[in-house]
């Protein structure tokens, strides 16, 4: 089978995507497929038409590839592709949109407020910030609404740190959210088709946060899979993850990130196209479930070609 591997692009997660893509290409070749690497640039559509692949494996992260843009083009060209469809990608990419959907569907997610730049520049949103302390408390987490790999995410321990954190987050997107900080264990549940994989726990080393560096550097973070949870916790976490996956309309595969705090699991976000690098969580979870990386890639391709197989 001729498989186009879409990777790279202009997103800030380009580097991660290139690593994911390379790993997928390697697996495809081992599986006997014909892998066609495509670094998504201005000639993407032209090249897709010229290469006429049977299916596209989307290994792009961040804006352009994980937000539904590339998926929309693939739909127009009539090329089946891996992972969630256009609408689900759009919902997952935008954390504010995703949280609204999750809350609407009754999935627990930490309280938040969202602001766009216009609100501050033109509508005096600064005066509304005073409501935050009461509603969210400190510390709080400031995040760009669309962004990945923890880029631009800042913790504000007090008022004094909020303006600076906002300026940082607005560097990545024109909408940001301020979210209640939930103390707890950092967990991830990957879902393939409609099957949840074992829960992975990320335990950052020496008091670090699970930030960009911790995510992609071997040895910086300890990953435990399956996470050491009791059966009740595992069930609750898995149920929350599946509910989130469904609420956002995901299909194919995705990864749900959660915090397990005192009040049970809360969903932080859903990654429509999670990383597939050496240190990424999805491949680790698949392995714990007895799937090799090749098995995983094959299964994801099957789901793209025969959605009913889910």
């Amino acid at each position: 089978m001729r498989v186009a591997v879409l990777k790279g692009g202009r997103s800030l997660e380009r580097g991660v995507s290139l690593r994911s893509g390379a790993r997928v290409e390697d697996a495809l070749e081992r599986l006997g497929h014909d892998a066609v690497p495509l670094d998504a640039g201005g000639d993407l559509v032209k090249r897709l038409i010229a290469e006429a692949p049977d299916v596209a494996f989307v290994a792009m992260h961040g804006l352009g590839g994980e937000d539904g843009t590339a998926q929309e083009l693939l739909e127009i060209l009539g090329i089946p592709f891996t992972g969630p469809g256009v609408a689900a990608c759009g919902r997952c990419m935008d954390k504010v949109l995703a949280k609204q959907e999750l809350r609407g569907a009754g999935v627990a997610t930490p309280d938040w407020f969202a602001f766009n730049e216009t609100a501050f520049r033109e509508l005096g949103a600064a005066d509304a910030l005073s409501a935050l302390e009461e509603r969210l408390g400190f510390p709080l987490v400031v995040k760009p609404s669309r962004g990945g790999s923890a880029l631009g995410v800042k913790f504000a321990a007090s008022w004094f740190e909020v303006p600076e954190a906002l300026v940082s987050a607005f560097s990545y997107d024109d909408r940001v959210l301020l979210e209640r900080f939930v103390e707890g264990r950092e967990l991830a549940v990957s879902v393939i088709g409609s099957e949840p994989l074992p829960v992975v726990e990320a335990i950052p080393g020496d008091g670090d946060r699970y930030d960009f560096e911790a995510r992609y550097e071997i040895g910086r973070t300890e990953f435990v899979c399956p996470a050491k949870l009791n059966s009740g916790e595992t069930a609750a976490v898995t149920a929350a993850a599946l509910a989130a996956y469904e609420a956002l309309g995901c299909s194919g595969f995705s990864r749900v990130d959660l915090i397990l705090g005192e009040d049970g699991p809360q969903v932080l976000e859903v990654n429509a196209i999670p990383g597939l690098t050496d240190t990424s969580l999805l491949p680790q979870a698949a392995e714990a479930a007895g799937m090799s990386f090749e098995d995983l890639v094959e299964r994801i391709l099957d789901l793209a070609l025969k959605p009913a197989a889910a």
Binding site: R10, S130, F160, P163
Partner: protein, 472 residues
Amino acid sequence: MSEPPLRRRAHTRTRDLERYAGLFAERTGVMRSSAMRDLMAITARPEVISLAGGLPDTSTFPAATFAAQMTRIAQESAAEALQYGPTEGFAETVDCIVQVMGAEGMLPDPEDVIVTTGGQQAIDLICKTLVDPGDVVVCEAPTYPGAVPVFCSYQADVVQIECDGDGMRIDELEEVLARLDGEGKRPKFVYSVPNFQNPAGVTLSLERRRRLVELARQRELLVVEDNPYGLLRFGGDPLPPLYQLDGGDFVLYVGTFSKILSPGIRLGWAVAPPPVMEKIVLGKQASDLCTSTLTQYFVREYFAEGRWQEYVASLVEIYRARRDAMVEALREHFPAQATWTEPEGGLFIWATLPEYIDTSDLLAKALREDVAFVPGQAAYVDEGRGRGSMRLNFSGVGEDEIREGIRRIGKAIGEQVELYGAITAERPHAPAGEVEDGDGTDSRPPATPPRPDSSEADSVVLPFRRTGEGSA
């Protein structure tokens, strides 16, 4: 697929990762990659105006000269040029090095010189020779970003000394040395880039050079002088190198052909007194046996023509015009709250922004506008320092691109400044009584919130300096 492909290494699996992680040397724990490295990968996109690199403009080197010299090498000494060479480097290369150092008033003993694979290897070999885990290494704040990973890989305890417009503050160095004395610690060396420092663009003043050399003698302290840019002076009088002031007893010297000829040939050197050199040679032997013979032959041929100084002079003209273009653009496009250095030479300008701007995040915003720079953080060992500053390179791209690049960065900064103003809008702007506050106390931040860690300067704010000489 007709033929099975050759067998490649099987996929790395989680437990392999763990197995490798268990084997890693302790020093890899401090060898860090960073988000910035990933961001820097994007700067390689062709549409991005990159002010991020440290690249000399090699397009100015005449291709015909290069072709003629390489042809001559191939015709006259192919076998030798393709062979191993001595670990110390060829005597002919050392002759060229002596010429380059002579142009800055130094007269090293050829016996004290080793040819290295770039100046970077010279720094590495010096650390390999001198630094045990936990040893203190002193350097400037900010320091050459490429030196940080070297110090870290030898597990040095890096202490950074603030710079101002006259380079490293020697008074602070003395205080730090006294404090270290009290802790029973003696730094293995003080690392300095005295001329047009990377990244700050500042030059160590003559008075401070004298004091540093004096201090080294009094305390029997080694100084590593890294001088890649000394010959790229656009104006003002050259200052004597530390090596010359000291005579080579306590100053180890690092030089390179990268900025005066080509970084691609990977040729640099170290100069050290014989006992130190002996160990450096052994270290070099273990690292890579010898520096590329081929490129040493190239340098020999090139220097034999006797026009290397003309080429350096042509580079100086080009870079001066580019620096002027950048300074002019900074004045036009950066906000009033920003400061920057105006170097008399070298490749870099260091700009410092209002403290609420984190230049790593600004880079993400700038990349959307297809322009890149190096966030200041890269020049500090401690996480979190240097966040307000950025390094801007003016040698790698032409004047029009410099002006456009600075305009775009200025626009991104302007938007952040405006946004910060809107977020922290002072209360008096809102009519009294209009804002409802549940408990009656104003918990909003003041217009300019004090930083919680204001005791420690976050980044060096270098005074605005005028360089009249350069604009001639």
